[in-house]
Every structure is written in C-alpha cells, then in structure tokens.
Amino acid sequence: MAWLLLLAPLTSAFLVWVALRPYPRLSQAVSIAASGLAFLTALGIALGKVGAPAALSWVDLPGLRIEIGMTLDSLARLMLLMVTGVAFLIHVYSLGYMAEDPGRARFFGELSLFLASMIGIIVSTNFVMMYIFWELVGVSSYLLIGFWFEKNSAADAARKAFLANRVGDFGFLLGILTFWATCGTVAFDPGAARGLAGNWLAPVAALLLFCGCVGKSAQIPLHVWLPDAMEGPTPVSALIHAATMVAAGVYMLCRIFFVLELSPEALSVIAWTGGITALVAALIATQQNDIKRVLAYSTMSQLGYMVLAVGCASTTAAMFHLTTHGFFKALLFMGAGSVLHALHHEQDIWRMGGVGRKMPLTFVTFGIGAAALAGIPGLSGFFSKEEILQAAARNEPVLFWMAAFTAALTAFYMTRITLVAFLGKPRTKAAEHAKESPFVMGFPLIVLSVLAVIAGYSFFGIEHLLGGHEAEGKNPLVPMASLTAVLLGLTAGAITYGRANQERIAIPLFERKFYFDEIYDWTVLKLQEESARLLAWADQWIVGFVLVRGGAFVVSLGGEMLRLLQAGNLREYAFLFALGAGGILLLLFGR
C-alpha cells in the first residue's frame, strides 16, 4: 500500500510522458488524482493505517547492498504530509494558473515526476536511495524551471539550477562514499556510524554530505540558482522553490543528523553557513523589485534559518520551521502568482499598486502569509522562528543577533512588497484592470492561509509529531528581542514605503545581490571557459596536430627521404647494391 506514495505519481508521470501529452485534460486529471492519492496515502500513514513495506534489493553485490525501501518514522510522516498536502493544493491551483498554456499536459507530467522524487527523498532508507531521488528532484526541477524553454532566461535558469545542484551533489556523493568506506553500509544506521566517531573522517564526511544541502537548499555559496529559478511558472516556484524541494536539503540534514552530530566542527560550519545565508539573503531581498525574486530571497533567508537550527543541533526547530514555512511560503507564492496571472505576468512591484482592492481574496491571504513570514506573533511563523532563535541563543550569541537582525529585515521587506504591490494607486493599465483569479486558484489560498495561521499551535501537533517541545533552557530575552526586531522592521517598512511610488532607498550592493553572479561570471565561469578553450586548443594542436599529425608527417617524411634513394641512375643503383653487399660482409666479418 505504501508503495502507492511513489507509484501513483510515477505512473502518472510516465503515462503523461508516454501517451497523454496530446490530451491536456486527461493529463491534468491523472496528475491531480495521483497527487491526491499520494496525499491520502500519506494521511493513512500518519494515522497509522498504512505500514512500511518490505524493502526491495536494488543492487546486491559483495560489499554493497542498496535497497529501495521506506522509512516511515515521525520525521518522514510530517514531511510527507506537508509535501503531499501542499503538492495537492498546488496541483489544483495549477489547473487555473496554467489553463491557457498549450504545454500544460507536459507541465502536469513533470509535476508528477517531481512529486514522486520528493516523496522518494522523504522515505529513503539509505544514502544511495536518497541520492537517486535527490538527483531526480534536480532533474524535475530543471524541467520545470525550463518549462517555458523558448524563453532564453528560463532555459538559462534551468541549466544554472541543475549545475549548482550538481556541484552540491558532487560533495554529497563523495560524502556517501566516505561514509560507506568507513562504516561499511549505506543505510541510515546510527549504529553503523559509530565507526566514524572520533575518526578524522567524521567532519569530512559530515561536510561533504552538507554540500548536498548547500546546493539544494540554496545556501551560500551555491545559492545563485534559486532567484533565477523564478523563471519557471509560479506554481513551480511555490511548490519546488519554496515549500518542498529546497526544504529537502534541510530534511536531509535532519535525516543524517546522526552523522553530523559526531563532529562539532562540522555543526558549527553548518550553523554559520545558515546564519550568513539568512542575513545576506534578507539584505538582498530588501532591494529587489521583482515580487517573485523578493520571495525567492526570503525563501533563501528562511532556509538559512533552518540550516542554522540544524547547525545548532536543533533538528526539531528546523523541521518545525520547515513545515510552517512550507505552508506560508507556498501561500505567498500562490498569492503572488494570482496577482501575476491577473496582470499578465507583470512581476515588477513598482508596476503594480492598488491590486489589493481588485483582488481582495488574494490580498487577504497574501497578507496572512506575509505576516506569518514576518513573524507577527500569533501566526505560525512566529512560533517556529522563535524556536530557532532559542536554539541559536543557546549556542552562539553572535549568530543569535544576526538572526534577530534578519528577522527585522524580514518584516521590513515583507511590509515593503505588500504595501507597494497591493496598496496605493494602480501604476499601470494592467494593474487597473486586474481581476480576481478563479476559484480553483482561490481555494488553495484559503486552505493554506488557514494552515499558515494555525500550524504553529501545539494543538496542530507538529511538535508532537517531532517528539515533543523542547522546554528546557528557554531564554526569556529571545522573544523580547525578536518581537522588537519584528516591530522595528514593520515600522521602518511602513514609514519608508507607506505612500511611495518609487524606490526610496538605493543600496547597489544589495540590489546587485552582493555581486555573486558577477563574481561567478568572472571567476568560475571564466576560469572554466578559458581552461576549456585552452585545453581544446591543446587537444587540437598539441595532441591532435603535433603528436598525431606530426607523427604521421615524420613517417611520410621518412618515406619521401627513402624515395630519394631511388634516383633512377643505374650507377647509383650499382653503388647501393655493392654497398649492401659490403655491409653484409662487414656484419659477417666485422665481429
């Protein structure tokens, strides 16, 4: 039964790919049914009605046994529910959002493939299985970002995403190999990991595995793909680049925490990476004009929080925030998508304005999401962020202050986009003529906004699922600080952008995203490009020309020389003949 989780979306993806592409309605139906089925199965699992099936052996060779199985512990259950739930909603939402796109059958097929891969990651029982689905998630993400492949920017963004992920996966695979070589297994087996304890390889393995997360969860320095990934259709941004896939990195860290915890050094690297990412992304977000990009940087920043939490050894906090963030970020993206849909894909917030009045449902739900993200008390985001700040405060004060400052920034930029996009006067014709989106798009917004409000409360049971609230060591300073930060951010945002019709602050460093893209263009890409050119030159001229054709040339030159012996003159022939005879005599008698 539990195999349905994987098989339903996989079958859907396969069917759509092979046969159903010419029939968009059928494809949509199949795909939505598959995601619904997956959600129901996940529900069944969460309620304990469906158990884990026996594992299948995928590769069984001496020294290496790789299984395809299912882990259905509490961590997986929570994640499954969140992922399948959000995915189902987004499938429904896409019905409306993609209604006019001619390629929507393909879109739904790819969504199904993504869902299957994501579920695969969640239920993995071992490193290799996780790696398999990990990569597949990358592939489906590539396909979905590049869904509008005829747009150059989308095509480039897809490639960038895949490559950045590949770099991370490179480390991940090496980490898996290190783990396997030391522990003798690829299973998620804390018992086996003891082989790593005290070993100098422990931090190496941990950090290599963390590379996977850096790529997938868009941590600095491999984060550059995420903002560009917004070139994909908005439901994709909501599903993959906000709620689920990017969170997979964090989920993976939690899943393999038994390796990470063997090495405090690695943990602190992870924590700092998360903290810095959170801060930098928030700073950048304050200066972006594209609504989806702001959301993307905020996603990155929130992922930084989660990684920070893992680095502070608080997987509970990380998972908590992961879940709530999944809800409200999906909500935000879908809200933004609703706006874009109405504005014919106008993404610049300065070319919107006053949309709130035309699209009340979207406005309200977006507002709830923004508030949750900003950490307004009483909404889910507040609770989960609080946990993380607590964890940071316990571990490293500097990180805590960074995180708090980030919280302020979050409130600031969320205020900024809400005010600029939804309030004020319409700044373009499109904004004036905006209309509320259809109900299929509105319905998921409503559901998610409800979740965004209640998910933080203990009655909702997330923390229960994760094994209880960590009561001990609550720092009273933390809520104070975070509240202050949020308020400061809100106020600053409201003051600055209350009635603004154009940008009031200009910080090029933030606007240009800390010049990461440029730096990469000038270093990594240039280096690769130039070395490729150099080597291609070397291959063509040194190996191909000098060695191969040179060798051939020397041989044919030898031929030409030998040919000159044959000058046609009989006297010379006689001489050579006699010389040969003399040579033979010399050989026979010369010794």
């Binding site: 009989l570 006297r571 006689a574």
Partner: protein
C-alpha cells in the same frame, strides 16, 4: 717468385671482382658497365678454377663451363636490349636513362 698458392689466386680473383664492381659503379656508359660485369664473372671463374685445381675436383670446372655459356647468353640478350634502347633514346649513358625514378 715462388709457386703461386691458392691464396695468390684468390687474392687475384678478389681484386679482379672488385675492379669489375668498381667499374660498374664509376662508368656511365651501359656498354662499358656491361663489360665490367663480364670482368666480375671472369673473376668468379678464376676462383672456381683455382679451387677446382687445388682440391682436385673437376665439378668446379663444369660450373665454369656453364658460367661462360650463360655469360654469352646474357651478353647476347643484353646487347640486343641495349641496341633497342639506343634506337629509342639515342644514348646508352646511365645518366640519361632516368625516366623511372623516385
């Protein structure tokens, strides 16, 4: 001036052979080259007869007989060929019949 031994004859024949060979190499006229080939054959004959004499074997002389005959045959054919060549190219100089080369 003692009695000539086998060694004397062999040296003589060797010298003759070498002179003939040198002649083939240094002369340009095919006809003279051909004469030098005859010298070489004669050198071989001298060796044969000398060996034959000093080992009391007549078989060597039989070979000399054949060599002389064959030499005559070769000369006949060769000279006929040279005549044809001369008719064609108006020369018998080795330097001037080098159309086939390299």
């Amino acid at each position: 001036m003692g009695t000539p031994t086998l060694g004397h004859y062999l040296v003589l024949s060797g010298l003759l052979f070498a002179i003939g060979l040198a002649g083939v190499i240094v002369r340009r006229d095919l006809l003279i080259m051909y004469m030098c080939l005859e010298i070489m054959l004669n050198a071989a004959n001298l060796s044969l007869v000398a060996f034959s004499r000093f080992s009391h074997q007549v078989r060597g002389q039989v070979l000399v007989f054949f060599v002389i005959t064959v030499a005559a045959v070769e000369v006949a054919v060769g000279l006929a060929l040279l005549v044809s060549l001369y008719r064609m190219k108006r020369t018998t100089k080795a330097e001037e019949i080098t159309a086939l080369k390299f």
